[in-house]
């Protein structure tokens, strides 16, 4: 356990530190990335990349990963059913806004008609998902880490099945559709043409892009503030040494509960936007594999480091939504170029989309075995729940010698 005085860097340091060249470089990098992301829809139009529709769910998934990072990275709790909260958020928003929901026959004309508004429903989705996190967390957070992982896994399996089975309310496997759209200045997102101040504009999906961007940016800001807050430091303390943290007066259960609930609430907002963007939600979008993909994003980039998680998310999502398809296409084209029918057939049988599970699985195994701290490790997080380095390098013989025993050992392997 190393002692780092600068638990909250920057914000409240009493000594002016000289500008760190590394920090300046990071700032420049961040500013460039930010400018690129803001200008992206126009660049996309200009160069004809046609990846805007892939970018919106990509950014939503990254926001989701940032929320999971609170639970896994900051508080050190393994959550294998994160997609359940995502589902709860999406269905909560759909319940309020969809004309097919059971509430649609009750709300209009009642004093609660204002709840059918998309923005209200998004806030409700955040609250409902946060409450769901607290309700699941309250009885289970006392459990040991691997048991908690299983409880969340069980929860993540139950929620989509309940959605499937409770057909009268959720429309079962068919899913809920349509879902209320967000709007601004009297203009509905994704509906063309759209009239703002007398001008008729064809915006396509661009408003959704900026909505996700803004929600993502707010999430990043909120998460940084949370991390540096008293609560964030309590999370770090509990993650590093629960007994010691408890000794310092931190209540582990309430602290973990906050992590669970706040993490879940981020997925609520994401779920609401996701539903509105796709205009339909069905239970198979929220299954176990979704939870694992999000977990994969967190672990690949660097558990507990916001920029790492974003990088991991970008890598996995761009593979999943853009490159897997395009690479497969390129390989097929390369096969066709050779002209030889057997080679063409062999190349055509290559399909990276079929190997998604393989890629994610390999990613998890390799990261855990080779670089458990992820691509961009968290500086302050050397000795933690997820990133412990293996210390198994001591051979059994050696171990016996260290212990000073003279018991003959069997030859290892």
């Amino acid at each position: 356990m190393q002692t780092d005085i600068r638990m909250t860097p920057g914000r409240r340091s009493y000594v002016e530190e000289p500008a760190d060249p590394q920090q300046t470089r990071n700032r420049i990098l961040q500013a460039t990335a930010f400018a690129f992301v803001v200008a992206y829809p126009f660049l996309d139009l200009l160069f004809g990349w046609q990846a805007l529709l892939a970018f919106i769910p990509m950014m939503l998934m990254i926001t989701l990963a940032l929320g999971l990072n609170i639970v896994v990275g900051y508080a050190g709790l393994l959550d294998l059913g994160y997609a359940a909260f995502y589902a709860i958020g999406a269905y909560a928003a759909a319940f309020f806004t969809s004309p097919n929901s059971p509430l649609a026959s009750v709300l209009p004309g009642s004093p609660f008609a204002w709840m059918q508004d998309f923005w209200v429903s998004m806030v409700m989705a955040v609250l409902v998902a946060g409450c769901a996190g607290a309700i699941l967390g309250a009885p289970t957070l006392r459990l040991r880490g691997d048991y908690l992982a299983l409880v969340t896994l069980g929860f993540g399996e139950i929620v989509p099945r309940l959605v499937k089975n409770l057909e009268p309310w959720t429309k079962g496997v068919k899913g809920m559709s349509p879902i209320g759209r967000p709007y601004l200045f009297g203009c509905q997102f994704g509906v063309d043409p759209c009239e703002i101040l007398g001008m008729k504009l064809k915006l396509g999906m661009i408003p959704y892009y900026y909505l996700t961007l803004i929600v993502g940016a707010i999430s990043i800001f909120a998460i940084i503030r949370l991390r540096n807050s008293r609560l964030g430091r309590a999370w770090a303390a509990i993650r590093d040494d629960e007994t010691a943290a408890q000794g310092m007066g931190i209540n582990p259960v309430t602290t973990k509960l906050w992590a669970f609930s706040l993490g879940a609430s981020f997925s609520g907002a994401t779920g609401a936007i996701f539903g509105a963007y796709l205009q339909t939600i069905s239970p198979d979008q929220f299954e176990y594999s979704t939870s694992v993909i999000v977990l994969c994003m967190v672990i690949l980039g660097g558990t507990g480091n916001i920029w790492g998680v974003m990088l991991g998310g970008l890598l996995i999502q761009s593979f999943d939504r853009i490159f897997a398809e395009r690479l497969t296409g390129w390989v097929h084209k390369a096969g066709a170029l050779t002209g030889d029918p057997t080679i063409t057939a062999a190349f055509n049988s290559f399909d990276l989309l079929k190997s998604r599970l393989l890629v994610f699985g390999l990613c998890l195994v390799l990261i855990m075995n080779l670089r458990p701290q992820g691509i961009l490790p968290n500086r302050k997080r050397r000795e933690t729940a997820l990133t412990d380095l293996p210390e198994d390098d001591v051979a059994p013989d050696e171990a016996v010698m260290i212990a000073g025993a003279t018991v003959p050992t069997e030859k290892p392997r």
Binding site: I158, T384, P412
Partner: protein, 319 residues
């Protein structure tokens, strides 16, 4: 009377399924007992066991499959020999696979936190599922109908609604001896003693001269072999196999292991039979689509109310 017979029927199905779940659950419980890790990939090893036995059976007698397809026809004698061959191949295949997985994906993580091997195991499970997809495709495959479905209750001249078929008996004929053999191995042999010692205190066992790596590999070997046997038997019992069966069977078995008290061999048997019967009752009285909800609900309730399981208190004698 009819409702009671319906209940009995579900009980028979549940017992047979429960024995299969037990075989897989033992793999979870052995590994947990010795390295305190949830081997998430175990269910998928079981799935590949089913796939490998289908391949063996088809290679041995593709023609004979057609001949025994009719359930009223008596089985041909060679089929029994083929079944034994398929059983052994599947057990060897899964045991090797499980040992390899331990060596490549878990061993380095043993000294770290609990989470690292768990995440690695999730990764392995995804990889194995993809291997399954490449091997037999996405849609479920039909298993050859080697085991005739003759109603024994009728054969004994009792007229009843309840059917106890040769298939149900087959499940018991294979699983019960395996479970007994494993129990004897762990309780009577020197290697079994080494396993129990390692489960109790790994460092102390090492100081006593037990090769930890080999003992842990042996644990994975035994678990894998049982999963391989379960793969064949479940395929012959249900006549179907698919790449996703590992996940659902795995979770059922894991629930069984936790319910009985994870790390406890008797607990795995008790839990396996209980979960098998619970699943059959839920299939029969609720609806098959509610069964996973019931099982996972049970898992969560057990974990919340009594994480040590029914027989979990004697942690000293884990393996």
């Amino acid at each position: 009377m009819l409702t009671f017979e319906y209940f009995l029927q579900q009980l028979v199905t549940g017992l047979a399924n429960g024995m299969l779940i037990t075989l897989v659950a033992i793999g979870y419980t052995l590994v947990y007992g010795i390295v305190e890790m949830i081997n998430f990939a175990h269910g998928d090893v079981f799935m590949l066991g089913a796939f490998s036995s289908v391949t063996t059976l088809q290679a041995l007698g593709a023609q004979a499959v057609k001949r025994v397809a009719n359930k009223d026809q008596p089985p041909i004698p060679e089929t029994y020999l083929w079944l034994v061959v398929a059983l052994i191949t599947s057990m060897v295949f899964c045991a090797t696979l499980n040992v390899l997985i331990e060596r490549l994906a878990y061993r380095r993580l043993r000294r770290g936190s609990r989470m690292a091997p768990l995440i690695s195991a999730i990764g392995v499970s995804f990889i194995l599922q993809n291997v399954g997809i490449y091997w037999k495709g996405v849609s479920p495959i039909n298993f050859p109908r080697y085991i005739p479905q003759i109603d024994l209750v009728k054969a004994f001249g009792i007229d009843s609604f309840v059917r106890v078929t040769t298939k149900d008996v087959f499940v018991f004929v294979v699983t019960v001896p395996l479970v007994i053999a494993l129990t004897l191995f762990i309780q009577r042999t020197k290697l079994g003693k080494a396993m129990r010692a390692t489960a109790q205190d790994r460092d102390a066992a090492q100081l006593m001269g037990i090769d930890i790596n080999r003992t842990i590999a042996l644990t994975f070997l035994l678990g894998g072999a049982l999963a391989g046997a379960a793969g064949l038997v479940s395929g012959l019992y249900n006549n179907t196999a698919g790449f996703q069966m590992g996940f659902s069977y795995g979770l059922n078995s894991f629930t069984a292991a936790v319910l009985g008290g994870i790390g406890n061999l008797n607990g795995a048997m008790l839990g396996g039979v209980f979960i098998g019967i619970l699943g059959a009752m839920s299939d029969g009285y609720l609806d098959a689509r509610w069964t996973p909800v019931v099982i996972f609900g049970t898992l969560n309730l057990v974990l919340i109310i009594r994480p040590s399981g029914i027989l979990g208190q004697d942690l000293a004698e884990r393996a």
